[in-house]
Amino acid sequence: MSFAPFKTLSAPTLVLTTQNIDTDQIIPARFLTTTSRKGLGKLAFHDWRYDEEGNMSDHPLNSDAAKACQILVAGHNFGCGSSREHAPWALMDYGFRAVISSEIADIFHANALKNGFLPIVIETSAHEWLLDHPGADVTIDLEKCEVRLPKNGGIYPFKIDPFSRHCLLQGQDELDYLLGQDEVISAHEAKHV
C-alpha cells in the first residue's frame, strides 16, 4: 500500500501536554473489532472527546481550530502501550500528518512511518517551546530533516532512519523492497531448515 509523499508540511499545531499518552487513549480497545483501516478519525482520543453518553466535550480536539492542525505536539513518551496500528490510522484519519514529542514509543514509531505519518523526536528546548505555544505555525521539512518554528524561533534538526525517509519522500511502502529480496530470503531458508 502506498501513501501520499511527505516532503514539507506547514501547519498550525495542536498541543496535548499530557505525558505518556498511551494507545488506549489514542483509540480505546473496544473499537478494535473493526476489520478496516478506514474511518477511525472519529474514534481518535474518543474518551477525551466524548462523555459516557456520547456528548462532545469542550476538549481542544473538538474545537473548530483543530480542523486545520495537521501537526500534533504531545508530552514525553507518546504512543506507549500496544502495537495497534489503529493508533496512527486514527490520527491520520482525524487529520494529523505528524507528531512531535521528546520521546516516542518504539512500536508506535515504526507503525507511524509505515503509513506516511511522521513521528519526530525533537530536543527538549524546542519541545518545551512547542508545548507552550499551541496553534503555532510550524514547518516540517523532511528533505532537510528540520523543524522550523515561527518568527525566527529557530531551526531544529531531527533524526530519521534514511530508508524510512526515502519511503516517505517517495510515498513508497516497504513491501516491494522486501518482495524484491526473494532470492536472498530463499537462500537463508535453504541454509536454516
Binding site: 500500500m1 498511551d22 487513549q25 476489520t35 514509543a105 518504539d106 509505515k114 529480496q181
Partner: protein, 462 residues
C-alpha cells in the same frame, strides 16, 4: 568480540545486513496471529495477489474478541456483531491460506502468548513476532520476540521477514532470593517502577541474575511479558536446564530434544559481553507491588504510602497522596491475561482462597489463559475452590485485560487485576485498574480491600 544472548539470536536471523541506507532484513521463525491485528494485512495480500510465504511458520488462534461465557444453548454471547465477524474472518483467512489455527474446537486454543509456549511452538533462539505488544512474553525462552503493527504483519505473511535496525541492549540484573510471598509479577513491577515506563525505549532487555535463574518458566514469562511496559520491545532470559526441561511434554518440541538443547544452551551471553545500559536491583529489597496510577511505572510496595505524583493520575484513580494504599476498597478482581493466567497462577490463588469466600461487595472473575490451563486447573480441582468461594470461572481468552469482548467494569469501579496495563479506561471507561500479583488479587477478593496476602491471617480472615 563477546556476544550477548540478543546478539547471537539477532545474528542468526540476518538475511541482509543493516547499512546506513537501509535496515536489516530479519528472518522470522514463528509468526503468531490473532483476529484483531490481521484482517487489514490479509486484505493487502488479497489486493496485491500475494500468497502467505510460509504458512508452516505461521500459527493462529482467537483470543481478544472472544466471549468468555457460554449461552445455555451452547452459543457464544459476542459483545457485537462486529466482534463475531472479526473472529469468523480470522478463521476464513487462515483456512484460505492453509495456516494451522487453534479455533473453537481446538484443545489448545488460548491467549496467543500462553498457547505458543504450551504447544512448544515457542523455542529458544527463535525470532518470534505477533501483532501484539506482549509478544515479549516468549523472550522467557531465550527467543527474540516482539510486537509488530498490522503493516508488518502483512510483510511477514508475504515475505517471512521484517525490516528493522538492531535495537540497543540493556541488562537488568537482579540477584538474591525473593522473600516469601513475593512473586515474579512483583519483580517486574519493581523493575518498571525503577527504570520508568519509557526507560527501555529503543532497547532489548536481557534479565540476568540468580533471581531469574531460580524462576520456573511461567514466572519468567510473567517477567518478559511486561518488558514492553518499560518501553522495551523485547525482554530475554538465557535458556538453561529449566528451559530445556519445559519441553519434555510439549507437542511441538524438537524430536531430538538433547541435540536441540546443546544448541540452546550455547546461546547464553558470553562473559564480558557489552550492554548499552545496565540496571541492578536486589531481590531481597522487592516487596509485593501494586500500581497506584495510570501507567505501569506508577507502582509501589503494597505496604507503602501513595506518593505525591502526577495529580491528574491520582485524581483519575481517586487516590490520596500520603495515604496507605492497602485498605482501599475493591469492586472487582480479575485473575487472567497473558501476564498471569497460567496454571501456577491459579494454584497460588487457590491456596489463598481455599475454604474462604469472596467479599460480598466484590465481583471476582478468573479467566484461564488457555484450554490446556483450564483443563489442568479443573483436573486439580482448583475450579471447585474458586466456585465455592464465589468466583466466576470462565472460558479462556484475553477478557478483562483489554475488555474487547465486553468483559469490562463499570465507571468508577476499582479492579485489582493481574493483567499488564492500568491505562485510563483500559478495563472500561472510567474504570480504575490496580495491577497486582495473583496472590494480592486473591487476598483482595476475600478482604474486599487491597490486601497484602502475607497479612491475611493477621487480619483474622484465616
Amino acid at each position: 568480540m563477546p556476544k550477548s544472548l540478543f546478539d547471537k539470536v539477532w545474528d542468526r536471523h540476518v538475511v541482509t545486513a543493516e547499512t546506513r541506507e537501509r535496515p536489516a532484513t530479519l528472518f522470522i521463525d514463528l509468526h503468531l496471529i490473532h483476529e484483531v491485528t490481521t484482517p487489514q494485512a490479509f486484505t493487502v495480500l488479497r489486493e496485491r495477489g500475494l500468497k502467505v510465504r510460509r504458512p508452516d511458520l505461521t500459527l493462529a488462534t482467537i483470543d481478544h474478541s472472544t466471549p468468555t461465557l457460554l449461552n445455555a444453548d451452547g452459543t457464544r454471547p459476542y459483545v457485537s456483531v462486529q466482534a463475531e465477524k472479526q473472529v469468523d474472518l480470522l478463521l476464513a483467512n487462515t483456512a484460505e491460506h492453509g495456516i494451522t489455527t487453534h479455533g473453537w474446537d481446538s484443545p489448545y486454543r488460548g491467549i496467543v502468548h500462553v498457547m505458543g509456549p504450551e504447544l512448544g511452538a515457542t523455542q529458544p533462539g527463535m525470532t518470534i513476532v505477533c501483532g501484539d505488544s506482549h509478544t515479549a512474553t516468549h523472550g522467557a525462552f531465550g527467543a527474540l520476540a516482539f510486537g509488530i503493527g498490522t503493516t508488518q504483519v502483512g510483510h511477514v505473511l508475504a515475505s517471512q521477514c521484517i525490516l528493522m535496525r538492531k535495537p540497543k541492549s540493556m541488562c537488568v540484573h537482579v540477584d538474591g532470593e525473593l522473600a516469601d510471598g513475593v512473586s515474579a509479577k512483583d519483580v517486574i513491577l519493581a523493575i518498571i517502577a525503577k527504570i520508568g515506563v519509557g526507560g527501555g525505549t529503543g532497547h532489548v532487555i536481557e534479565y540476568r541474575g540468580s533471581c531469574f535463574e531460580n524462576m520456573n518458566m511461567s514466572e519468567r514469562m510473567t517477567v518478559c511479558n511486561m518488558s514492553i511496559e518499560a518501553g522495551a520491545r523485547a525482554g530475554m532470559i538465557a535458556p538453561d536446564a529449566t528451559t530445556v526441561a519445559y519441553f519434555e511434554d510439549k507437542v511441538m518440541a524438537p524430536v531430538n530434544l538433547e541435540q536441540a538443547a546443546a544448541d540452546w544452551l550455547s546461546l547464553a551471553s558470553d562473559p564480558d559481553c557489552r550492554y548499552d545500559k545496565k540496571v541492578h536491583l536486589n531481590a531481597a529489597d522487592i516487596k509485593p507491588m501494586v500500581t497506584y496510577g495510570t501507567h505501569p511505572g506508577m507502582a509501589m510496595p503494597i505496604d507503602g504510602l501513595v506518593p505525591d505524583d502526577d495529580a491528574q493520575a491520582l485524581a483519575y484513580m481517586d487516590m490520596q497522596a500520603g495515604a496507605a494504599i492497602a485498605g482501599t476498597k475493591v469492586d472487582r478482581v480479575f485473575i487472567g491475561s497473558c501476564t498471569n493466567s497460567r496454571i501456577e497462577d491459579f494454584r497460588t490463588a487457590a491456596k489463598i482462597l481455599a475454604g474462604k469466600t469472596v467479599a460480598d461487595s466484590v465481583t471476582a472473575v478468573f479467566v484461564p489463559g488457555s484450554e490446556q490451563v483450564k483443563t489442568a486447573a479443573e483436573a486439580e480441582g482448583l475450579h471447585d475452590i474458586f466456585l465455592a468461594a464465589g468466583v466466576q470461572w470462565r472460558e479462556p481468552g484475553c477478557s478483562m485485560c483489554i475488555g474487547m469482548n465486553g468483559d469490562i467494569g463499570k465507571p468508577g469501579d476499582l479492579i485489582v487485576s493481574t493483567s499488564n496495563r492500568n491505562f485510563e479506561g483500559r478495563q472500561g471507561p472510567g474504570v480504575r485498574t490496580v495491577l497486582a500479583s495473583p496472590a494480592t488479587a486473591a487476598a483482595s477478593a476475600i478482604a474486599g480491600v487491597i490486601t497484602d496476602a502475607r497479612n491475611l491471617s493477621k487480619r483474622g480472615l484465616s
